[in-house]
């Protein structure tokens, strides 16, 4: 099975105008890929469905806005894939 990174990158390419080959592990979803908030919610919807989870975007955003976590923790591709893996593991747990 493809890695979470690859699956998420495929989802982003399908739900935005970003070419698949531009989506790299170190890409920041917003700053580097230029995903706007509406496309991002479409992407989250697709991730939720694909992985059977509920990505807690609101909690992540609040954490970042409050200065309690760097945006990179959630919005750089390789980290996003890790967070998704954690959510999948927690659900299976």
């Amino acid at each position: 099975m493809a890695s979470s990174f690859d699956r998420i990158a495929d989802i982003i390419a399908e739900n935005s105008e970003v070419p698949r080959d531009k989506i790299l592990p170190d890409s920041h979803v917003i700053n580097d890929l230029g995903i706007d908030s509406l496309d991002f919610l479409d992407i989250v919807f697709a991730i939720d469905k694909a992985f059977g989870i509920k990505v807690p975007v609101e909690a992540w955003t609040q954490e970042v806005n409050a200065g309690n976590a760097p945006a990179e923790k959630y919005f750089v591709m390789k980290n996003l894939a890790e967070r998704v893996d954690e959510l999948v593991a927690a659900k299976a747990g």
Binding site: L38, L41, D42, D48, K54, V55, V57, E58
Partner: protein, 148 residues
């Protein structure tokens, strides 16, 4: 319906689980029909979308206990299959497809005389009420509709 006030829903016919059915009647007369279209009044497609959005909105409000407000942010796969005009009674079915973090997705359709008129998938951003007056208005109308 009171088109000029964007009040598209007359009553809730059924509410169960993740779904709602609402009923409404397109008014016999409205300034909207003077422009859409002269001599051939038709319910505008954008107002059919609004009707599906409001049915979905009441569903989502009820599912959230009226704690937060859904705002329409995307309409996908909207299809307008038949024309309907003044005086038509409609039933609107809406179902929540996904309960996301800060957003929700519904599918909705409008039927008249048992025939499908329009359908779409709708995405809503779920936000805190931006004004207390809006929260009061939603809860007030929710009470009128029997949801509260």
């Amino acid at each position: 319906m009171r088109l000029e006030y964007f009040q598209m829903i007359d009553r809730v016919a059924a509410r169960e689980g993740d779904a709602i059915i609402v009923e409404s009647r397109i008014p016999d007369a409205s300034p909207v029909f003077e422009g859409h279209f002269p001599g051939h009044p038709l319910m505008p497609g954008v107002l059919l979308v609004e009707t599906m959005a409001q049915a979905s909105g009441w569903l989502l409000l009820d599912l959230m206990g009226f704690a937060r407000m859904p705002f329409l942010m995307a309409v996908k796969e909207a299809k307008f299959r038949s024309f309907i005009g003044p005086g038509t009674a409609v039933r609107v079915h809406a179902k929540r497809l996904h309960d996301g973090s800060g957003f929700a997705v519904t599918e909705a359709r409008i039927e008249a005389d048992g025939k499908r008129i329009t359908d779409a998938e709708l995405t809503f951003r779920i936000m805190d009420y931006p004004a207390p007056e809006l929260a009061d208005a939603m809860r007030g109308r929710g009470r009128e509709l029997g949801l509260l």
